[in-house]
Symmetry: C2
Subunit: 454 residues, 2 copies
């Protein structure tokens, strides 16, 4: 039996153990937005890594703790693996088929908050490491982990942490927290991430709510102030109206367009999965939709709150209103500049009363889609998936890859088991067991290939 | 001891009993918007009226039950008294000093949901009736009560009920559910009420919420659709932009202006009580503010709901968004016409996807401010308050007075113990015990004077 056959056999026979480990990990709530269960979860991660012989440390930041771990290997190269132990809030609870923090397998899928984003990616990688350690006495190369607890709230403190721990995190390349297969089960590599600037806008017009019969025609109304202020941010043609917002936007390069054109059309898939009547600005699919999806910045209302929200009617004039808004940023936009532009715009548009609270974010980051590490990660997928990963120069989501690329100077490549119905950030988040196993097989191969390369 | 002195003495010595009765009544939740405790509360009302020798009946409607009661008197005339047993939802609970359904006296005030609007008005009137019955064997005139359970949700079924029960409710005049003193403790009479059209606007853009990193630049967003649709309803200059909305509006008459000009300026009072930086459209007070307050129609956002509303950030693109909106109407606007105009406007403005649900309402109604019954109610206040009630031709709130005026053909006059800090519809709703007693004294006098007049 060859080395690789033994490794694959190990992965298959230990899949159930790995899923059991993931169930324990995902049963521990760790909701960064609500500060719930964070310390407990960091200690679970530490224990899982220590069990594999990693030297671990739980390190403080001004926010959630970061788990850093390291284990030497036979080769001289160092692979840094980035994951996060925090998850999105589980609400709305009533739309979950089973409770979000009681992970359960149904029809070949594991359901639970965080099983896909991102706890399962850590345990699948640990399964690959277990297989490598079972096949030899030591790892093929040095492996470092950095597992943070604020990814879902914009990785507020990670860039500063990476900057300070530059020596400790030094590596030759970085494997990112997640990855996806598309609706054809073709594995995708995402070589860039959009940035994000997440804010809460709020207005207060009075010290208490007022009977709407009294104040309706003469008192300021916080909900109206917020509505009008929001309406100045983006028009119904989806044009963001904040002066200067598009100035720093770099259009996709010819190589970017070439890579995007090689991707399949997901339009029908999206329409069906999300029950959409259509796409914005009359787009119907094709490369235009794909380019818009990832190479354009956004302004998204993520939540609205004001006044009475119960059943039936309550005649109240709200004293307070707020909106959660996220801006997805593309090179070379930065959160700091967007915040400055937003404040200036609201002031100029007559809304100095609308307060802005920055809830987190970071700039976009890209690795050259033709970088040798990107190629290595893509090519080692071939024996597992029957084809190499398809390289996508940019993805719509965000993460702190900017700090890794620019502070540590490493290429960043993604790989993972996400798939179109994985429901990250939504009720019934889940992973497919078959893809979970494939990811472990892929990671085992890429670690070996990475150790051997130079 | 004169009759009146004996009546006043009775009212004073039985005030505590009446407040105890009110506490039991207000401890029974009866939240029409949430359908909570309605049947139980109707039975409490029936029992209170039956205890005074009224012949009672609890009558069904397509919504909440109506309590109708009648007791003959010495005189031939009939006074109809309108009250309601439903209350506003108590939320937000955390802003109440004591629990909303555990009424308690502090510093000469009784606190609890509904004590002012409108349960205390019923018990204060029953206290006056008790005093009249103690002073003589029978009432001075026939008295009828109609106590409904849907006033706080727009009296959806009452107009139809009044129409059908025209004979049973026949009367010579109607005393309305509430009344106020102003910030100088001057009693006010409100001879007209604005109408109301309360709607919920909602948009659905997908079958489930989407990760904002995926859909932000290509998927429709329900919160944006709602924001843009709302922004077309009214501009930041407070002009309602629904075509035809102002067509039926009758400006105030010279007599209306004269009566409004005689009122004191409440601007400073409003500023201080509600912590306002200023009023809409640069108004600072005076008759302009008073006229705007009651003779202009409104479009008020009462509530906004969409997406994530918890702590911190959640990167979600909402599939669903909704707003509660109330329109206050002035003569001769009608809810039916406003609904028609609203639908036509949203369709024309590009928002056929915004659904309208009518949650209740009714047209405005006015009684001639110089009607003899209005004068009688105003003048009988003099011995109690040291001055007659000041007649206000129109008030900003709403109620089903249109049906009484136009179906029963009776004049409608208001009187009550509300005061500027009564916090109707808000946390810490309360009544002042001194004003409660004054209202009972006033009602005893007006019933006697009404019976004697012709």
């Amino acid at each position: 039996m060859s080395d690789l056959a033994a490794i694959d056999r190990y992965l298959e026979t230990h899949l159930d153990d790995s899923i059991a480990e993931l169930k324990r990990y995902a049963a521990q709530p760790s909701i960064a937005a609500q500060g719930r269960g964070m310390g407990e979860c960091a200690r679970l991660v530490e224990a899982m890594l220590a069990r594999r012989g990693f030297r671990c440390e739980i390190m403080p930041t001004a926010g959630a703790e970061v788990v850093v771990a390291e284990r030497a290997g036979a080769g001289e190269r160092t692979l840094l693996i980035y994951n996060h132990y925090d998850v999105q809030p589980p609400e709305p609870f009533e739309l979950w088929t089973s409770p979000p923090f009681e992970p359960v397998v149904r029809d070949g899928r594991l359901f639970g908050r965080g099983v896909s984003d991102d706890k399962g990616h850590l345990t699948a990688r640990l399964l690959a490491i277990d297989a490598l350690l079972a096949a030899g006495d030591e790892l093929p190369c040095r492996i470092k982990f950095v597992v943070e607890g604020e990814e879902e709230i914009g990785s507020v403190h990670l860039p500063e942490f990476v900057r300070r721990q530059r020596q400790r995190l030094a590596a030759d390349a970085c494997l990112w927290e997640f990855g996806y297969v598309d609706h054809r089960d073709v594995p995708l590599m995402h070589a860039g991430l959009r940035g994000i600037c997440y804010v809460e806008l709020s207005v207060r017009t009075a010290t208490l709510d007022v009977h709407s019969g009294l104040g309706g025609s003469i008192f300021p109304n916080a909900a109206w102030r917020l509505t009008w202020a929001l309406a100045t941010l983006k028009d119904a043609h989806e044009r963001i109206r904040i002066p200067g917002f598009y100035d720093a936007v770099k259009p996709p390069s010819p190589r970017d367009r070439e890579l995007m054109a090689a991707l399949p059309d997901a339009a029908d898939e999206y329409r069906e999965r999300y029950g959409l009547a259509g796409f914005l600005r009359g787009m119907t699919g094709g490369v235009a939709l794909r380019l818009a999806e990832v190479f354009e910045p956004t302004c998204t209302i993520c939540g609205l709150t004001s006044g009475y929200q119960g059943a039936g009617s309550k005649t109240v004039l709200p004293a307070l209103a707020s909106a959660k808004v996220d801006f997805r940023l593309v090179p070379d936009q930065t959160p700091a500049e967007v915040l400055r532009q937003l404040r200036a715009h609201l002031d100029a548009a007559g809304f100095p009363d609308v307060a802005i609270e920055f809830l987190g974010g970071g700039p976009p980051g890209r690795t050259d889609p033709d970088h040798p590490f990107v190629r290595l990660v893509a090519d080692t997928a071939t024996p597992v998936f029957g084809m190499p990963m398809q390289v996508v120069p940019m993805v719509g989501g965000s993460g702190p890859n900017h700090a890794f690329i620019h502070e540590l100077g490493v290429p960043v490549a993604t790989a993972g088991f996400g798939y179109p119905d994985t429901r990250a950030h939504a009720p019934d988040e889940n992973l497919r067991l078959d893809l979970y196993l494939k990811h472990a097989r892929h990671v085992a191969r890429l670690i070996r290939a990475f150790a051997a390369a130079r």
